[in-house]
């Protein structure tokens, strides 16, 4: 046993896969300790907040300001409110409105804005201009006005007695606040999803559920596959015929279609993670049966098996002690693959809206399902689905890598 393990851990492929897998497991265990709480809590009010650090604006105005003179601050502001495309668009508008721009320098921001302020009128209609363009110029006008607003933003409070606004403070253009001195700061490494949930927290919790589903599916499939394969291979005869008939029938029915039909017929309130895992396992045992059977057939007439038979050992004992150990390594590898395909199957099912019910647990597939329903893929909210895809890919990659590594150790024809 020790020797086998040493051999296994000498395989670079296995070690690679193992490291990735353990890293994911560690993330799953450690992250909830750092960031405890309900992974389904809807912290964001709006949809799809970008990844980054969020600073409470309210608290920031109360923190201590540190005035600083940064030379590029003004340029950055200009760029943010008035991009190069905006400048071109302004010139285009002047042209359409028939304004003389012969001696206008597009880089001269002040001249550009003065000319704009003198001429732009939201009520002025330019014939043939689309609504989208009209709206665009109106927004551009707003940001130009913002750019030109006073250097000071006044903070005010409503006086409770008179109901009037009273100035309580001012924020200058060159005031800065140390992030550490703001009371409420929230770091969202992967932003929020369509419900306003913390994606990383949800993802970590989803990995756990999906792993569980995968493990359950893998166990069920391997158990059924192994039992039937051993029986059919060792007993042979009519039993073999019957089991192989059933297996063949299940092999020709596309298992994913079967999976869809079964999950569809289970009503949604019954569809917890465990049920989905079980159903996936029930539909994916066939190839384990077939390969275990063929291995058993090649073992069944070996001398030590015959010896056991002559000694009058029971069927169960022969199978467990004389046959199973010889195919154990193969079964472990098949199990790893089953786990991997179980996780993928859950993701596929959930994408079709047939996964576990959402209100209780997050799973990788459900996260993708909601991201798709809220068009995360078309509105550029990559953080809502890409980390999920990456995680699924990494999990199945690591499992497959481990499997290949094991194969090289156990399969004599592949041994170096």
């Amino acid at each position: 046993m020790k020797n086998t393990l040493r051999q296994v851990f000498h395989s670079p492929k296995f070690v690679g896969g193992f490291v990735i897998f353990v890293a994911i497991l560690l993330l799953m265990i450690i992250y909830p300790l750092i960031n405890p709480g309900d992974p389904l809590e809807m912290i964001g009010i709006n949809t799809f907040a970008k990844p980054g650090t969020y600073v409470s604006l309210y608290d920031a105005t109360k923190a201590k300001y540190e005035p600083m003179r940064l030379t590029d601050a003004e340029d950055k502001r200009l760029d943010a409110y008035l991009s190069a495309e905006d400048r071109v668009a302004m010139v285009e508008w002047f042209g359409l409105a028939g304004i003389d721009i012969s001696n206008l320098d597009i880089e001269d921001t002040d001249a550009l804005m003065d000319l704009w302020n003198d001429n732009y009128d939201p009520a002025f209609k330019i014939k043939g201009m689309t609504k989208a363009k009209v709206n665009y110029f109106r927004r551009l006008n707003n940001s130009i006005q913002q750019l030109q607003s006073a250097d000071v933003i006044v903070l005010a409070d409503t006086n409770e007695e008179t109901g009037e606004l009273e100035e309580t403070g001012q924020v200058n253009k060159n005031d800065y606040v140390n992030v550490n001195s703001v009371v409420n700061v929230k770091f969202l490494p992967l932003g929020t999803d369509n419900f306003g949930r913390d994606v990383l927290k949800e993802l970590v919790s989803a990995i756990g559920t999906s792993m569980l589903i995968g493990l359950l599916a893998g166990s069920v499939a391997t158990l059924i596959g192994l039992t039937l394969g051993l029986l059919s291979g060792y007993v042979g005869g009519v039993v073999d015929d019957i089991i192989m008939f059933i297996t063949n029938v299940f092999t020709v029915i596309p298992s994913f279609v079967l999976l869809i039909l079964i999950t569809y017929s289970i009503s949604q309130d019954q569809r917890g993670a465990a049920v989905v895992g079980g159903v996936i396992g029930l539909t994916s045992w066939t190839w384990t049966t077939r390969s275990v059977r063929s291995q058993v057939i090649s073992l069944r007439n070996r001398d030590h098996v015959n010896l056991s038979k002559l000694s009058g050992h029971s069927l169960v004992r022969i199978v467990l002690t004389d046959i199973l150990p010889y195919i154990a390594s193969y079964v472990v590898m098949a199990f790893i693959l089953q786990v991997s395909s179980g996780i993928l199957a859950e993701a596929q099912l959930s994408m079709l809206g047939l996964g576990p019910k959402m209100t209780e647990v997050p799973t990788l597939g459900l996260m993708m399902n909601w991201a798709m329903l809220y068009s995360a893929h078309t509105n550029g909210s990559w953080w809502a689905y890409f980390p999920v895809i990456l995680t699924i890919a990494l999990i199945s990659f690591s499992l497959n890598l481990m499997n290949t590594g094991l194969d090289q150790v156990f399969n004599p024809t592949l041994r170096d």
Binding site: M42, T47, F48, K131, T359, Y374, T378, N379
Partner: protein, 639 residues
């Protein structure tokens, strides 16, 4: 050897992917006509094929096998999305189940008059009722039991014969006889229709006291019931031997129409209508011109997401779709896309998608406190900002009642009188207190409350794929969790959902979603009746209202009084009483105000769509519904 195998595998996969990509790009143009023929025959027998062949079907774009988007001249075609799902079943205006969204459909703001026309058009922007087939002036007699109107002289059918009062009468008589949509919707309100020359007289049904049942519904008839040609109805009737079922299911390919467009092509990929250049409406007494686009095309997309991609790519001009974060299309992506209003809610919010409590379940029927507690605990602000991406006013802006958020309806009840009954949501403590007070508490310590010794376990249901509703149900379930009532979400497929929630005896869905009526001349009465009235209690296949089967005699009596009340103060008092009952009893609770009349347009090809600030008062009714069709006469090509 292994490397070679691996490389071969990669090559095979790449080729496979490329091949798939191609398939997706060109919707199988090869088999489209075959499927078309299939639909026609299954629709209704041998006759169907003859007219289909006579139509300009010979130049069917798909038959040529080229990319169909390019075959209709782009600069003469207006592309729609969001209306037609699946292939058209029939063109029979007298039938049912036509699944023909572009030609035969009543939108939330009036009938879609592209092919079949109504007597009047409704403009909810100003409440005006304008003449279409009929002249502008309709007249009531003194006690509102009889209405007279005259048909326009210019109005003609597509075969050149004039539209007459006899057509209106025949449409009504046969509609009642075979119980189609028009017949069953207005059958309780209209007694008979008489024709004399070009004068139509509508006699209202009277109640026991000799008063009309509901004159408002007759106004709905004017703007909501399409008129068919008497001669064609006779043809239909002869063909079907007068059998009602056969008449309802006839494919109606030889139908005669009066509108500006007619069928040109349809299969399971798209539906195209083409302009009828002999349309009577170009007469100066009506529009004075033809509508601008020569073709109206609707590609049949798989779902909202696919339609949205079409809109973004400029393959769709006008879409009536819920698009999450629609403002990103112009703010982030810089696309030439705009909505009726530039700011949220982007459209006109006329309806309130509502969660209905199933009163067939004793735990809900007998516990008003439970109903109110759940409704109070739901975080509506989150639903509106996350599920609806802010495309709705909040319940702080427009406090909840039976009214939609338009100023007209909001003025119909006394706000101060019911102010302390209204809730804004997310009131967990208040909800808990309410339940504790009602004795619904958690005795066995499992975190969930019990009633009569049994754990309360409810489900919150809406159709699968209706993303904003699904997200709302998640919030309802979260509210339940917060107050110790188990609520799980359930998203059945729509075809299952619709059979269950319309069944008056169902006990499968505890809390389920549906929208009440949006806008028409008879609202808010119709909506109030849907919320509290008893007309629909026990009605099989109930699409009409009160889906939760709530029974309240007092409310029902008040509702019956409203149509006959003309005094404004009295009317306001009645509505206020009803709002009070509704907010106390909570037989259902609205989750948001939804833009029911809205459209998103891509101005890559066409422009001059109606918008909220252009002073034209054309409603954003998808350029097709009610007075919204006026938009089609004012479209311009982008220069």
């Amino acid at each position: 050897m292994k490397k070679l195998t691996a490389m071969l595998l990669v090559a095979a996969m790449t080729i496979g992917l490329v091949a798939c990509g191609n398939n997706a790009g060109t919707p199988d143009s090869g088999n489209a006509p075959a499927q078309d023929a299939g639909t026609e025959t299954s629709g209704g027998g041998a006759e169907a094929e003859a007219p289909a062949a006579e139509e300009p079907a010979a130049e069917e774009p798909a038959a040529s096998g080229t990319d169909d988007v390019n075959v209709l001249p782009r600069e003469e075609t207006l592309y729609f999305a969001g209306q037609q799902w699946g292939a058209v079943n029939s063109w029979n205006i007298m039938g049912t189940n036509q699944n023909n969204a572009m030609a035969i459909a009543g939108g939330p703001s009036g009938y879609r008059t592209l092919m079949f026309e109504t007597l009047y058009m409704y403009n909810f922007m100003n409440g005006e009722i304008m003449g279409l087939l009929a002249n502008d002036d309709y007249a009531w007699n003194d006690d509102m039991t009889q209405m007279t109107l005259t048909i326009k002289d210019a109005a003609k059918w597509s075969d050149g014969t004039p539209v007459t009062a006899e057509d209106v009468k025949r449409t009504w008589d046969v509609s009642v006889e075979i119980a189609n949509g028009t017949g069953s919707t207005y059958g309780s309100y209209i007694d008979t229709i008489e024709a004399d020359g070009n004068t139509v007289t509508i006699n209202a049904k009277l109640n026991d006291a000799g008063q009309p049942v509901n004159p408002l519904k007759i106004l709905d008839f004017l703007t909501g019931a399409p008129i068919a040609q008497a001669a064609w109805i006779d043809t239909l009737s002869d063909r079907c031997g007068g059998d009602a079922t056969a008449m309802l299911n006839d494919p109606g390919d030889d139908v005669v129409w009066s509108g500006p467009y007619t069928k040109y092509f349809s299969d399971d990929q798209r539906v195209v209508l083409s302009r009828d250049d002999n349309y009577w409406g170009q007469d100066a007494s009506m529009w004075g011109s033809l509508p601008v686009p020569k073709y109206i095309a609707h590609t049949i997309y798989a779902d909202n997401a696919a339609s949205e991609v079409g809109l973004k790519n400029g393959e769709v001009d006008v879409a009536q779709l819920f698009i999450a974060n629609v403002q990103d299309l112009w703010l982030k992506d810089g696309l030439p896309i705009s909505t009726y209003y530039e700011e949220a809610p982007y459209g006109v919010c006329l309806t309130m998608p509502t969660a209905w409590y199933n009163m067939n379940m004793p735990v809900l029927a007998e516990n008003a406190a439970l109903r109110k507690a759940i409704a109070m605990a739901v975080d509506y602000d989150h639903i509106i900002s996350a599920a609806m991406t802010n495309q709705s006013p909040t319940f702080k802006d427009v406090p909840r009642s039976l009214m939609n958020p338009t100023d007209g309806e909001q003025a119909l009840y006394n706000k101060s009188e019911v102010a302390d009954l209204q809730w804004e949501g997310n009131d967990i403590e208040g909800a808990k207190a309410l339940l504790d007070e009602a004795g619904i508490v958690d005795n066995d310590g499992d975190g969930y409350r019990e009633w009569n010794g049994e754990k309360i376990s409810l489900n919150a249901v809406c159709p699968n794929g209706w993303s904003d509703w699904q997200a709302s149900m998640v919030d309802v379930a979260a509210a339940g969790e917060a107050i110790g009532v188990e609520i799980t979400t359930l998203y059945p497929e729509y075809d299952i959902y619709q059979t269950v929630f319309t069944d008056p005896n169902q006990t499968e869905y505890a809390i389920f979603m549906w929208s009440p009526e949006a806008a028409s001349p008879s609202n808010p009465w119709t909506r109030v009746n849907q919320f509290l009235g008893m007309d629909y209690v026990g009605v099989q296949n109930n699409w009409s209202g009160n889906w939760g089967q709530y029974k309240n005699e007092e409310a029902d009596a008040l509702i019956k009084q409203i149509p006959l009340t003309t005094d404004e103060a009295e009317l306001k008092d009645l509505y206020t009483q009803l709002v009070e009952i509704y907010l106390t009893e909570v037989p259902s609770f609205s989750l948001m105000y939804r833009p029911s009349v809205f459209h998103t347009v891509n101005e890559s090809v066409w422009t001059n769509y109606p918008s909220g600030d252009d002073g034209r008062n054309i409603p954003p009714a998808d350029c097709t519904d009610g007075y919204g069709i006026a938009a089609l006469y004012e479209l311009e090509l982008v220069q």
